[in-house]
């Protein structure tokens, strides 16, 4: 079983920005087994029993550049907690996700605010990810109809390209998602998100594959919004542990504060 890394909470953000569909639905019976296996690997890269880690998030926009270091915890697919360690001004700011709900703790005013539905589309911590991205759940193996790019199946080509179209009854903002998988490691190197007009909206890069928490995974993740010159949000994992024992009490409003 693949373990879930804590940074994968954020990876999940990225992934799940793919979609907001809460439910996986019946897949096409004609999908071939190879595709299902690869998509399953991809999907399960994000799931696990529990995780804990630290990471750095760098956000660069036209207006500002900021770097946050944070600590992350997750349990199952439903619960996660992120707490900012630096910069000092924002130290202690924390985000708790339970199911599809998100709370932010703000140390400056010492209050916990539940993010209302109207703010779910807003940026999370100034990054290129939204709150919706945080709570989204999606499984490519079930929610999308995927096909290989035949040209990339040639043995001489190192990366496999898979194009995925969301099933009709899946509510996602994307019209198409394409991903590149390194054939040797079967790990993703890049994914591209397109809107309904087939315009590229966002590119994700998966880099710096390392062994962390006993698992080889890309440890640097970069989201690049299309058309915003030079903007990106990069998540760099620095420490990661899987399948550790984390109390459910950690994912509560009480522990959010401290």
């Amino acid at each position: 079983m693949l373990k879930q890394s804590p940074w994968i909470v954020l990876l999940a953000i990225v992934w799940m920005s793919v979609a907001m569909s809460p439910r996986a639905l019946a897949r096409q019976p004609s999908e071939d087994a190879e595709m299902q296996r690869l998509l399953g690997l991809f999907d399960d890269l994000l799931r696990g029993a529990s995780s804990q880690g630290t990471m750095t998030m760098t956000v660069k926009t036209k207006r500002f550049e900021r770097t946050l270091s944070m600590q992350t915890w997750s349990k199952g697919t439903d619960k996660s907690l992120v707490r900012i360690l630096e910069p000092v001004k924002e130290k202690g700011t924390a985000t708790l996700k339970v199911g599809d709900k998100i709370w932010n703790y703000l140390p400056k005013v010492d209050r916990t605010i539940k993010v209302p539905g109207s703010m779910m589309g807003a940026s999370w911590m100034g990054s290129h990810f939204t709150n919706d991205d945080l709570v989204a759940k999606i499984r490519y193996s079930e929610d999308f109809a995927c096909s290989f790019d035949p040209a990339t199946r040639e043995p001489s080509v190192k990366e496999l390209r898979i194009d995925c179209i969301p099933n009709e009854d899946v509510a996602v903002v994307w019209g198409k998602v394409s991903m590149l998988l390194d054939k040797a490691s079967e790990l993703p190197t890049q994914s591209m998100f397109y809107d309904d007009d087939d315009e590229l909206v966002r590119t994700m890069k998966y880099e710096n594959v390392r062994t962390m928490g006993g698992k080889r995974i890309p440890t640097v993740l970069t989201a690049i919004p299309a058309g915003e010159d030079g903007e990106f949000t990069r998540v760099e994992h620095s420490k990661l542990e899987f399948d550790i024992d984390i109390s459910d009490r950690l994912f509560s409003l009480q522990s959010l504060k401290q």
Binding site: V59, T61, R63, F64, R66, K89, E90, T93, N104, L106, K108, V109, R111, I113, K114, P116, S118, M119, A122, S123, M125, G126, S127
Partner: protein, 405 residues
């Protein structure tokens, strides 16, 4: 000609009951329309005043592109110089800072439009301070005081003195968050402000949103001697490089609403008076019908069709005149009450009309058109209503008329 009046007048009293009923109905209609026109005018003026004096100002300046895509970063950077030159040209102006965000109180939260006001210059431009219903207006001595719309206060279940958290994204990408206390609650403001407006001092706004310089909006009132468009042109020539918009351009819906409200009155008159016109038509048709033989004799001895027509028209017009005089006599004190005292509409709950939340009282307003409009429309419709019976009488052929049973 004055004979026609005499005959018409006496004819009226041949069937006193019918005439009294007709005049009564006319009076009620005219009276209702006088009051209605006054209320609509009062309402429209309130709307305009609320909009212009309280919130929008006559003119606004935004940084290029702000109105298409509002952004914390899209600022006017030379606002001090701009305001100085505007004031040199006779305007009064104040700068505003604007940000979208979230306000939260207890378990509740709501999207909000956060406005940072220059407290020193605001009052000269905007009367919004007067719209504080409960609590107090912003004060420089209370930087963490916030004034918000009544609708928003209700949604958050907060009252004066309660705590409020303002959240948003600061210019540095961090999560803007600041604790405020509800200092005042506004009533009778635009729906936008009512439901989403959070007003704070500009200094705390800058601190919260990490906005060191620049403003998003400059609000101004025009010199008294300038019309809106002339003032707009003057302002635009005074400040190059930024867009100047009139309140009508900024609030096209409200602007249209106001124009439509005014023209709707006429429609209302017509609807109301068509009933009256039918009554007149009927009454005059009856009266002509009853007098066909008599009219035949009149025509036989040489009354011209025109005289007969004018006789019938005069009968109707006399009733209309009497009705109008009574309506004006009765209406004058009522109008005075409407204008001076208004009517209590608090019983109708929270009324929002055309994007403005109305206060608890509605006031009438009297203008030449609120008096002349109902009366002129009334006479036109009475005239149209009586035209058919009148022409019928005028075209009577004496021989047939006299043979009429």
């Amino acid at each position: 000609m004055n004979k026609v009046f005499v005959i018409a007048w006496r004819n009226l009293w041949r069937t006193p009951r019918r005439s009294v009923v007709t005049i009564g109905a006319m009076t009620v209609a005219v009276l209702a329309m006088l009051l209605y026109a006054s209320l609509v005018e009062g309402y429209v003026r309130d709307l305009e005043a609320d909009l212009v004096e309280v919130e929008v100002g006559d003119l606004q300046v935004h940084a290029e592109g702000y109105r298409d895509r509002p952004s914390l970063y899209t600022t006017i950077d030379d606002s001090d110089a701009m305001i100085a030159s505007l004031e040199g040209a006779g305007f009064v102006a104040t700068a505003r800072l604007l940000a979208g965000g979230l306000v939260a109180a207890g378990e509740s939260s709501s999207g909000a439009l956060i406005k940072g006001l220059d407290l020193e210059t605001n009052d000269a431009v905007s009367a919004i301070a007067e719209r504080v219903d409960r609590g107090e207006w912003l004060a420089a001595s209370d930087p963490h005081g916030a004034v918000l719309g009544r609708g928003l206060a209700r949604a958050l279940a907060v009252d004066v003195g309660d705590e409020l958290i303002v959240l948003g994204q600061a210019t540095d990408g961090s999560m803007a968050n600041e604790l405020f206390q509800v200092r005042g609650i506004l009533e009778a403001v635009t729906a936008e402000t009512d439901l989403a407006g959070v007003l704070i001092a500009d200094s705390i706004f800058r601190e919260t949103f990490a906005l060191d310089q620049g403003v998003h909006q400059v609000l101004m009132r025009r010199p008294a001697n300038l019309g809106l468009d002339a003032a707009s042109a003057l302002a635009q020539s005074t400040i190059q490089g930024h867009e100047v918009k009139t309140w009508r351009e900024l609030q096209p819906l409200m602007s249209q609403m106001i124009d439509i409200s005014r023209s709707m009155i006429i429609l209302m008159f017509v609807v109301m008076y068509v009933a009256i016109a039918i009554l007149i038509l009927n009454a005059m048709l009856m009266s002509v019908f009853e007098r066909i033989r008599e009219l035949g004799v009149m025509k036989a001895v040489g009354l011209s069709p025109r005289t007969v027509l004018s006789l019938v028209l005069t009968e109707a017009m006399l009733q209309a005149v009497v009705a109008t005089v009574i309506a004006l006599a009765v209406g004058a004190p009522l109008l005075w009450l409407l204008v001076e005292r208004g009517i209590d509409v608090s019983g109708f709950g929270d009324i929002t009309a055309g994007g403005m939340s109305i206060g608890t009282r509605m006031f009438g307003a009297v203008a030449p058109h609120t008096i002349l409009g109902p009366i002129v429309t009334f006479f036109v419709l009475v005239f149209l209503g009586v035209l058919y019976p009148g022409l019928k009488a005028a075209r009577l052929r004496p021989v047939e008329a006299m043979r009429h049973q």
